[in-house]
């Protein structure tokens, strides 16, 4: 595998995981706010928390069955496309982003929501204040989601197929190189992945600490 090919799969991994994370964030943050502000919905938060560690291969399998030609969404012809991986990874990281953001926003509502009310804020101003006060934790939840998306293999392999120059990501490329016995390339790409994930984790940790103090 050449350097340009490694660069290509790295960029694709960043694109796919980044888009999936943004997509998941768009609904996860709204859901997190609703769960945090409406006590009646809190059982849903417990269910989502239990789904944080769902095996990636299971999500991949379910999505494969949905997107395959015989599946209910087969007509969309998404199987073995980057869009399929994006969709699968977005589903995969939704419980993680929602659960972490829910905890952060719930704490913020309890502390700052009441405070804003006592100082005469309107309902919209209270919501804005709560979100502003929890921004670091919310961003940390998004980064955690990205970290999980870029490092997963099950979804990318099952619904992406690891097609060269089209759906091959760092994780599927590593799996392929190992199956071919090319451990040096696999380790090199593994290091690239580790650097990306570690950098993201450091940023998330810093933001999370800022949220706590």
């Amino acid at each position: 595998m050449t350097s340009s090919e490694i660069l290509d799969v790295s960029i694709r991994s960043l694109y796919v995981a980044g888009t999936a994370t943004l997509l998941a964030s768009s609904w996860s943050l709204v859901l997190a706010f609703l769960l945090a502000s409406k006590p009646r919905l809190r059982p849903i938060a417990s269910i989502l928390e239990s789904l944080v560690g769902i095996p990636t291969v299971l999500v991949g399998l379910l999505l494969y069955m949905l997107l395959s030609r015989e599946g209910p969404l087969g007509v969309l012809e998404l199987l073995y496309t980057p869009q399929a991986i994006i969709l699968g990874e977005a589903i995969l990281v939704t419980p993680l982003i929602t659960s972490v953001a829910y905890r952060v926003i719930k704490g913020s509502i309890e502390t700052y929501g009441e405070l804003a009310l006592t100082l005469g804020a309107s309902r919209l101003q209270v919501i804005a204040t709560v979100l502003l006060e929890s921004i670091h934790g919310v961003v940390a939840s998004i980064i955690m989601g990205f970290s999980r998306a870029i490092g997963e293999l099950g979804v990318a392999l099952l619904v992406g197929g690891g097609i060269k120059g089209y759906t091959r990501t760092l994780t599927t490329a590593i799996a392929l190189e190992v199956s071919r016995g090319r451990f040096e390339e696999a380790i090199y790409m593994g290091l690239v992945l580790v650097v990306i994930v570690a950098s993201i984790s450091v940023v998330a940790r810093i933001l999370w600490l800022r949220e706590q103090y």
């Binding site: 006590p39 006592t118 005469g120 804020a121 309107s122 204040t129 103090y213």
Partner: protein
């Protein structure tokens, strides 16, 4: 003392937290302008809850709360209007992110007051409470005493008709307590109603016009002599 106009009237009020026991049963109480009321009672008796009901943060489970003759819980706009006349200050000071200035300015900003007027009001209150030297400090770098004064300044800058203070002297040293008491005298003379939940005998002896004791889910009017012996 001439009785001030009733600002908050609580009638036949019952309150309990979701799934909990009754904290108050059939309670009647009024809080007036020009009057300093001390709410006394043992820990866990419901002093903070009473202040939060009067401050329109909690809605009574049963009964009525009337502010300036109107039911604030009848519509969102009435509730906001009434809340802007009453300020509740937490026992443990909670500060927003940002500077001390940002914190004090918060309530004025949400009321849509101009930046210039906010600047003048913040500087005035900071000077009166002797915290002008920390105005640009990060709110999270303050000591608990400084944070308490900032929380008080943030409430007082709004010129409320009534201020509800939950253990306001808890984190203040002797010097700051004196300064704060002096300021309470001043706002009391200006006609602002003050309700203080406290265990502090000094504050009770010094400024109470009226004492309300929370006991067995009821409120009992008492005097400082009866309360403190």
């Amino acid at each position: 003392m001439v009785e001030g106009a009733v600002l908050i009237e609580i009638t036949k009020m019952w309150f309990r937290y979701p799934g909990g026991n009754w904290v108050f049963e059939d309670v009647d109480v009024v809080f007036r302008r020009n009057e300093t009321t001390i709410v006394a009672g043992p820990n866990g008796s419901g002093k903070t809850t009473l202040l939060k009901i009067a401050g329109l943060i909690y809605r009574p489970t049963r009964g009525r709360v009337v502010v300036n003759g109107a039911n604030p819980w009848s519509s969102a706009s009435r509730l906001l209007e009434a809340r802007r006349k009453i300020v509740y200050v937490h026992e443990k000071p909670i500060l927003f992110r940002g500077t001390v200035y940002d914190n004090i300015a918060y309530g004025l900003r949400v009321r849509g007051i101009s930046r210039e007027d906010i600047g003048r009001a913040v500087e005035r209150i900071a000077s009166e409470l002797s915290i002008e030297d920390i105005l640009w400090r990060d709110s999270r770098s303050l000591s608990s005493g400084q944070a308490q004064l900032v929380a008080l300044a943030r409430a007082l800058v709004l010129d409320p008709q009534m201020i509800l203070l939950d253990e306001p002297l808890a984190h203040l040293d002797r010097e700051k307590k004196k300064l704060f008491m002096k300021y309470l005298d001043k706002i009391s003379l200006a006609g602002i109603g003050i309700v203080i939940a406290t265990h502090d005998t000094y504050i009770t002896r010094r400024i109470a016009d009226r004492i309300v004791l929370v006991e067995n889910r009821k409120l009992v009017e008492t005097t400082s002599t009866e309360l403190l012996g």
